[in-house]
């Protein structure tokens, strides 16, 4: 089922801070690249972690290849606006006078969501851009900003279309809205943890995407899920063994027991919140990614998660083929 959403061209990865959204965006980009799609990974504002996880040494406003079939680009609202205005007013020297003036600074700060609009506009441009008669990219993966509500960005084109007077911005905003709402092109992936706060926010985001925004949700990706691999009886037997053990082994056994209790506790918390998610969201695949026990999280782990994402997608499709 996530397989179907993967075929779309534009992927927004959203989620609150601390859930591993950027990691999932990187894993998704790797997965798409592996499937032979020419993929563009987009980082927004001055975040530079996505490109680092994909092995780039730095990013600019121009797509830069980092691996065969994979490029990264950094989109910043203010720069995108300047680029856009450069198209409207092609007088370079005068433009730079404008950009450095205080009135312009106010214009940018004051026009509701102009920077966000320009960011999404630039993403739209890259998604629809053609090279030699075919789309420049088969897939565009956007690591949406985590600060506050990532929906602020997705909401902007609609707000712009509805509130700005007739003009270029309104016309372009309408085009962007059409693209964002098109379920054949776009998928929003909600990254979350199976814990109280992230699930609450995910459900809220999901509802907003459905109703006022009317944007297609591709999947819900639950990151860092713990699955206890031992039984409750084993844990109980371990507790008993501590009592019988000699002083020499007791400390170690106690440590083994504490870690087992911790894993057990997280598995229960995760299971409960996953159940909450599955009850509330029934029309999109909910994909689980395992918690990775590693000393350091690096590109190898991104690769591992991208394989998990692929496998989870297939399993899920098999399960849903069997019916409810």
């Amino acid at each position: 089922m996530i397989g179907a959403a993967l075929d779309r061209r534009l992927h927004f990865v959203v989620g609150k801070g601390g859930v591993g959204k950027t990691t999932v965006a990187a894993a998704l980009a790797r997965l798409l690249t592996r499937r032979g799609r020419r993929t563009l990974a987009v980082e927004v504002d001055d975040e530079r972690r996505l490109s680092a996880l994909l092995g780039a040494s730095g990013t600019t406003g121009t797509p830069t290849p980092v691996a065969p079939g994979l490029a990264v680009v950094a989109i910043e609202g203010r720069a995108a606006l300047e680029e856009y205005l450069g198209l409207i007013i092609p007088v370079k020297r005068l433009l730079s006078t404008i950009f450095s003036s205080r009135i312009y600074q106010y214009f940018v700060a004051a026009a509701p969501g102009l920077k966000e609009l320009m960011t999404v506009g630039k993403i739209w441009y890259e998604t629809t851009r053609e090279e030699g008669g075919r789309p420049a990219w088969d897939a565009v993966v956007v690591d949406a900003p985590a600060t506050g509500h990532s929906l602020q960005y997705l909401r902007m084109p609609q707000a712009a279309r509805d509130t700005f007077g007739p003009g270029l911005v309104q016309r372009e905003a309408a085009k962007v809205v059409d693209l964002l709402r098109d379920a054949r092109t776009t998928a929003v992936h909600l990254v979350t943890l199976a814990e109280e706060m992230p699930v609450a926010e995910t459900l809220e985001t999901y509802a907003q995407l459905k109703d006022p925004l009317a944007m297609p949700v591709g999947s819900v990706i639950v990151n860092r899920v713990h699955h206890r691999r031992f039984s409750a009886a084993a844990l109980a037997a371990l507790r008993d063994a501590i009592k019988r053990a000699g002083a020499e082994q007791r400390a170690l056994l106690r440590a083994v027991c504490e870690r087992a209790a911790e894993e057990s506790g997280w598995s229960d918390i995760n299971a409960a919140h996953l159940a909450r998610l599955r009850t509330a969201i029934r029309d999109v695949p909910i994909v689980e990614l395992p918690f990775l026990f590693v000393e350091e999280f690096d590109r190898a782990e991104v690769e591992r998660l991208s394989r998990e994402l692929e496998a989870a997608g297939t399993d899920r499709a098999a399960v849903s083929a069997l019916g409810p």
Binding site: K16, G17, G18, R49, I88, I89, L94, T97, I98, S101, I103, Y104, Y106, F107, A109, A110, A111, P112, G113, L114, A146, T147, G148, Q152, F164, G165, P166, G167, L168, V169, E195, E196, A200, F230, S231, A233, A234, L235, A237, D240, A241, A245, Q249, L252, L253, A255, V256, R259, A260, A261, E262, E263, G265, W266, I269, F293, V294, E295, E296, F297
Partner: protein
């Protein structure tokens, strides 16, 4: 110095850090400790989990403080010698309250419906942070509390919080505001030509091309607000002062994850430049590494684990015993990575800054008793370096 000394010696404690590190819980736990120790404590919180909000008596959003009733403590087995109040920051409401307090009555409606104002109060970078500081000032000036713990808004970099007064001050720069409230300005773009022919022309083109009539709205906003800014500047100066007062301590909350610790490192290095020394660090959700310590080695070797498997295998079978041992090895790897990163992080901190580790509890911390349970970790450690 310990974190206990730190909280004991300061009137204001600001809990700062990236989103998702448990800042809110730490802030609530620090305030509770103050109350148990006999202080009149209040925690100003931003977006608590529902059950934490409930246990703090914050069922619904409101701008007032709620004092937690004594029987609430008693049912959780706690006997505070002081008091604990909680308050939830309502960002939009706080801006509106500010306008209502300071703007002339006839201008209020125009300000509240002005699109520029709405944008400013909701999404101008630093405005949420600024409102938190504004609330902090009001609590500090009320004289009702001798310990105020502030949970900061979830920002990518906690620096945004500390820089908020300066940003707002820059934004509300009196020189430029005066320029905006000149009556001819709101008349339209043509007025600009008198000031700067080229810029005026180009901006007019820009407005036509985009369909955004922003400048007229800004001008209208500042005209409605005129007279308010003298007052505003005083408040911004006051906020600046409170953040840097000797009685204010900034405590950084971080998790031991690489990215989060990286942000924390960056913050701590920038703090001195802002003349706001970092005074304490809470590392939350830390996995403890098991070190046997005896026999002159502190790594767990494969033979020890084999021994564990053997020991358990007699009662629960080899497969399950193996899984338990493997789980232990997994957590050790996690803990080892964390402790290496934490050690490096501590090395970069100013001398004498207390650093405490709070374990990764595998349960939700949502009632007063479990907040009090964090005290054993928060207030039991030594200073760094």
């Amino acid at each position: 110095m310990t974190l206990a000394d730190l909280v004991a010696r300061h009137q204001i404690v600001i809990s700062a850090g990236s989103g998702g590190v448990g800042k809110t819980t730490v802030a609530a736990s620090l305030a509770l400790w103050g109350a148990l120790e006999g202080r009149r404590a209040v925690v100003l919180t931003i977006d608590p989990a529902r059950r934490l909000a409930t246990s703090l008596g914050l069922e619904s959003l409101g701008s007032g403080e709620r004092t937690i009733p004594a029987e609430h403590f008693r049912t959780q087995g706690l006997t505070p010698r002081g008091t604990l109040a909680a308050m939830m920051l309502d960002q939009k409401g706080a801006w509106d309250a500010l306008v209502e307090r300071h703007a002339p009555p006839e201008a209020r409606e125009r300000i509240l419906t002005n699109r520029f104002y709405q944008h400013l109060s909701q999404s101008f970078a630093g405005s949420h942070e600024y409102m938190a500081i504004e609330q902090l000032c009001a609590l500090a000036e009320s004289g009702r509390y001798d310990l105020i713990v502030v949970d900061t808004p979830p920002t990518r970099h906690a620096l945004d919080f500390l820089e908020a007064p300066r940003r707002i001050a820059d934004f509300l720069d009196r020189k430029i505001i005066k320029w905006f409230v000149r009556p001819y300005f709101s008349a339209g773009w043509s007025a600009l030509r008198a000031m700067n022919r080229t810029a005026g022309f180009l901006l007019r083109r820009l407005e036509q091309a985009t369909g955004i009539a922003a400048l007229a709205e800004i001008s209208d906003f500042f005209s409605s607000m005129s007279g308010l800014f003298e007052n505003f500047q005083t408040r911004i100066d006051r906020a600046h002062e409170i953040l840097r007062a000797p009685g204010t301590a900034l405590v950084l909350v971080s998790s031991p994850e690489e990215q989060v610790l990286g942000d924390a490192e960056y913050l701590s290095s920038k703090m001195s430049a802002l003349r706001m020394p970092l005074k304490g660090v809470v590392l939350n959700r830390v996995h403890a590494e098991f070190r046997p310590g005896r026999r002159g080695r502190d790594e767990i070797g494969p033979e020890e684990l084999e021994h564990v498997s053997e020991l358990l295998g007699q009662t629960i079978g080899a497969a399950e015993a193996g899984e338990l041992a493997a789980n232990f090895v997994d957590y050790q790897a996690l803990a080892r990575g964390e402790s290496l990163r934490i050690e490096q992080f501590r090395g970069g901190l100013p001398r004498g800054v207390p650093v405490v580790n709070v374990p990764n509890f595998s349960r939700d911390v949502h009632d007063l008793a479990s907040l009090a349970g964090m005290h054993a970790y928060l207030f039991a450690s030594r200073a760094a370096g």
